[in-house]
């Protein structure tokens, strides 16, 4: 029924998850992983609908990545696939609110936070990819590349500053460190490939 997916979970992810559990407990980890699963399912469902084949799944420190072998998606199709993740989260938040009547605020919040974070216009995130696809669609790949580099650089710098500020103000929350390093890396190297979801 399922094609033989190539699933890889990096050691860094396992370490970060253990750290997160030690710092915050099981419950938040389950909430975050649940929201992440909804997100990836959104991508996966639209990719399947468009006929693209999902070949692999990587779980790393910086998040989950679906690998697809189809490079022939149209701009519109790829945009739909990219936006399907955040849309899935938004849908889940709505459903949980309506069905739960306020019983699962944490799950709703996690879905919303994941949705908003992934919509940031920084490239490996969905927002950056969507920005590239939109501007490339409208004004050509060169303009798209320029737009995403500028927006990504500025947003990543702002995000890094925000995370650093939160860490300073809370006097810890060190498990945010990978996110801080990632946003610095994303901001400093806006040209790296965006071939993932």
């Amino acid at each position: 029924m399922f094609p033989p997916y190539n699933i890889r979970v990096s050691g860094g992810f396992v370490l970060l998850a253990i750290w997160f559990v030690l710092a915050n407990g099981w419950e938040p980890l389950a909430t975050v992983l649940g929201a992440a699963a909804v997100h990836e399912l959104g991508h996966w469902a639209v990719l399947r609908m468009l006929g693209a084949e999902v070949t692999g799944f990587r779980l790393g420190v910086l998040g989950a990545v679906l690998e697809t072998n189809s490079r022939r998606l149209s701009y519109g199709g790829e945009l739909a696939a990219v936006l399907a993740g955040p849309a899935g989260n938004l849908l889940a938040a709505f459903l949980l609110t309506v069905l739960g009547k306020g019983r699962w605020p944490a799950a709703v919040g996690a879905n919303l936070v994941l949705c908003a974070f992934n919509l940031l216009p920084i490239r490996p995130l969905d927002g950056g990819r969507a920005l590239y696809l939109l501007s490339a669609w409208a004004a050509g790949p060169v303009a798209g590349e320029a737009a995403v580099r500028w927006a990504g650089g500025v947003t990543a710098a702002a995000l890094a500053a925000l995370i650093a500020w939160v860490m300073l103000r809370t006097g810890g929350s060190l498990w945010l460190l990978p996110a801080l390093l990632a946003s610095v890396y994303w901001g400093a190297m806006p040209w790296h490939s965006g071939g993932c979801l």
Binding site: E27, P28, T97, G102, V108, G109, G172
Partner: protein
């Protein structure tokens, strides 16, 4: 490993020259790059390990201090679950906390946890309060440091409500309106809705509110009242409730926390010993501890705090019958 690798690369090179061009590069190159990356990783990890061991051997004191700083930072965490919950509630338009509630959850995890516990989930109230007490230690440390440097009282029993304490606390009422109070503090006199009695028979030696730091000349907030009494004097529980935390900290000394109905809780610090154990139900007036000067204290006294759902209230209204 390197020499074998090099050999393979040379072999790949010759094969490329003699036979298929593509096969040679494809098989040889990625493997070499992968091995090189692994080697670099190993060298980096080994380097860090050796450097840390060297630092520990050469500068043990600095390393211990660094260790302490690091573990303190690692223990301070924002309450992720509370943050998510705040976002979720804001989304569903519940009790319009919005951004304010999210901000509260990020920067004041102890109060967030407290409210979550009071809201009814109550999975591990004991654990939560313990955590709350430890998290609050840094704030307590500051205020207790403020006490120690009190001029005119380098040691011995705490001074009576005399020249130092009295003007400062009345100043607090004049100068600091509700907006100027630190976060999580209320000057209101709440109606408790249950019977209570003073925890110790002693004199008020330091009130609730801002007081001027005598050496650094800055304002510090005192989150409770100090009741001077002899070492070993009985500390009686303020009201019926459950002991939620018994602990020993560098600032509070031996302390315990009791949760009462209506979301109220009280803290008893600097005890010579705590006789009640965590998790037990206690009655008003029951002995739970003995007065001491453990932690940062200049003389035997009870530091008494009153909270309502994470907000510090002025306990003086309820102990002033003395």
């Amino acid at each position: 490993m390197t020499s074998r690798q090099a050999g393979r690369r040379i072999a790949a090179g010759t094969r490329r020259r003699s036979r298929s061009v593509r096969n040679g590069t494809r098989k040889g190159e990625p493997l070499a790059a992968k091995d090189l990356r692994l080697m670099l990783r190993l060298v980096a990890c080994g380097g860090i390990f050796v450097a840390l061991v060297a630092a520990k051997l050469l500068l043990p004191a600095k390393m211990a201090a660094f260790n302490e700083t690091l573990s303190a930072a690692m223990e301070q965490n924002m309450d992720v679950q509370a943050v998510f919950s705040a976002v979720g509630r804001a989304f569903s338009g519940e009790e319009g906390g919005g951004m304010g509630e999210v901000y509260q959850a990020v920067f004041h995890p102890q109060e967030g946890a407290f409210q979550a516990g009071a809201a009814g989930t109550a999975e591990a109230p004991v654990k939560m309060t313990t955590q709350k007490a430890t998290l609050r230690d840094s704030a307590a440390l500051d205020l207790l440091r403020g006490f120690r440097a009190e001029p005119g009282a380098p040691s011995g029993p705490p001074e009576a409500p005399g020249p130092e304490g009295q003007p400062a606390s009345s100043l607090a009422y004049v100068l600091y309106s509700q907006e100027n109070l630190p976060e999580g503090v209320s000057m209101e006199q709440a109606l408790l809705g249950f019977d209570y009695s003073a925890p110790v028979a002693g004199t008020l030696s330091s009130g609730f509110g801002y007081r001027e730091h005598p050496t650094e000349g800055e304002e510090r907030f005192h989150y409770g009242v100090d009741l001077a009494a002899d070492t070993g004097a009985e500390v009686r529980c303020f009201a019926d409730g459950t002991v939620t935390a018994v602990g020993d900290s560098s600032s509070y000394g031996r302390y315990c926390v009791v949760a009462h109905e209506g979301g109220y809780s009280t803290l008893y610090a600097h005890c010579s010993r705590v006789t009640a154990s965590s998790g037990t139900a206690v009655k008003r007036g029951q002995k739970i501890a003995e007065v001491g000067e453990t932690g940062m204290a200049t003389g035997p006294h009870l530091h008494f705090e009153l909270q309502r759902e994470g907000t510090y209230l002025n306990p003086v209204y309820y102990v002033s019958a003395l």
